[in-house]
């Protein structure tokens, strides 16, 4: 279990408790947070679950696959700390993680 802060496109912070093994995408949807579309439901096929991982945490989250990296190059407004939130899984070590959602998913 970790406490995660998700900042939605309107700038509102949501502090949520997330079970280990749950993806950030699922956690955001489960909590009714706006800004993630997640059309493919976590199949790493749609890139509509783009998020930015707070700089301090980039090295602590699990590594992206090559498919995810390729998809991230083509999202709107990619940054070094871009991730697909369906591919980032929560663990105890991520307690305190801060994630920001982009203005647009497509």
């Amino acid at each position: 279990m970790a406490q995660v802060t998700i900042i939605d496109p309107a700038g509102t912070s949501h502090e949520i408790n997330v079970e280990n093994g749950t993806s950030l995408m699922q956690a955001a949807l489960d909590n009714g947070i706006d800004g993630i579309v997640a059309e493919c439901g976590g199949a790493c096929s749609c890139a509509t679950c783009h998020c930015y991982i707070d700089a301090a945490w980039v090295g602590k989250v699990n590594e992206p696959s090559s498919i995810e990296k390729d998809m991230l190059e083509c999202v709107i407004d990619p940054q070094d700390n871009s991730r697909l939130s369906c591919q980032v899984f929560v663990s105890d070590e991520l307690d305190g993680l801060v994630v920001t959602l982009p203005q647009a998913q497509y």
């Binding site: 949807l29 489960d30 009714g32 706006d34 579309v37 059309e39 493919c40 439901g41 199949a43 790493c44 096929s45 749609c46 890139a47 498919i67 390729d70 998809m71 190059e73 083509c74 999202v75 497509y106």
Partner: protein, 408 residues
Amino acid sequence: MQQDHCVIIGGSHAAAQLVSSLRLNKWEGKITIVSADAFLPYHRPPLSKSYLSGEKILDEIMIRPPTFYERSDIEVILGTRVTAVDRANKKVHLDNQTDIPYTKLVFTTGAKVRKITIPGHNLPGVFYLRDLNDVDHIREYLGHAKKAVIIGGGYIGLETAAALRSLDMDVTVLEALPRVLQRVTAPEVSAFYSRVHSEEGVKILTNAAVESIDGKYKVESVTTADGQVIPADLVVVGIGVIPDVELAEQAGLKVDNGLVVDEFARTNDHDILGAGDCTNHYNPIYDIQLRLESVQNATDQSRVAANTICGKLEPYRALPWFWSDQYDLKLQIAGLSQGFDQVVVRGSTETGRSFAAFYYKEGRLIAVDAINRPKEFMACKRALAEQKTANPEMVADESVDIQEAFQL
């Protein structure tokens, strides 16, 4: 004044998105989902992929957790069908003999499988694949089965073949047409899928119409029109779906290969809307009337419906897209390739497992099938949504960056 009450018929992808969008839009009325399914909305795509192969369990494929519906104050009535819609009195009748009044009604009744009627179609061991229940039954049956025949070489048939192959079964796919995926892809792409399936040990027979399913007490074999007898102890039929619109038709709503809705997802009765696999709608990007069977359409159209219900009229103009996972192949499709007159391949379909096929019509890009090429998919999806095209020679040339080819 009567309280707003949105009643939703069907509880799958479209319904789950609709209720989420209504609440995100701060819609304050009452919301009720009436679902014939026994489970809360779950993702269907894994049913023929990771759920069938046993990699994923029910909890992992739920669209939203049970707490979401409680917290969002959404009533879900499971295992129950709407049997009639009384438009004059604005209420629906359920098969448990209760009535529910509505101010807004949404059809998200989806599609149901097309059944085969050949001899033997009722034998134990013959399955369809649409609902969780279907897959649970297949999985229970797997213990006794070693040889599977899949009837139908479309996406669901091929995905099922791949999943069963990963469980070490002997798998044969029977396709009545000259090639697999004939209705949806170019010959090059069909040939590629045939090659990979045979490399993985799946037998694909084309031009193979099925004449009968045979067995004494349960399935033992399948016979084709040209007399081939293929031993089988499990048969999965995947020959397409038909929109579930009888109820809408009985209610006097306009139906024409699906429930006809306008760009705001409204039927001819503006208090009744429709979204997802059950609808027939207009797509402005391709300037055609169509019915789609995809998660993209179910979710995007539901968002439009939710906006309409909340008084925000925003037309539906999303680009259709689709995906299919088989073995190590990630296929992503953007756009609609129907009516193409030119195919340009980037990479090779004959060797390896990574290429993109771009479809053109009268010189204009209309779609892409990208296999293990997420960049090509993403770039093309964006270009198509912005109604941009790209020079075929540049697209085919691997030395040109794909984003550059599309001038993104």
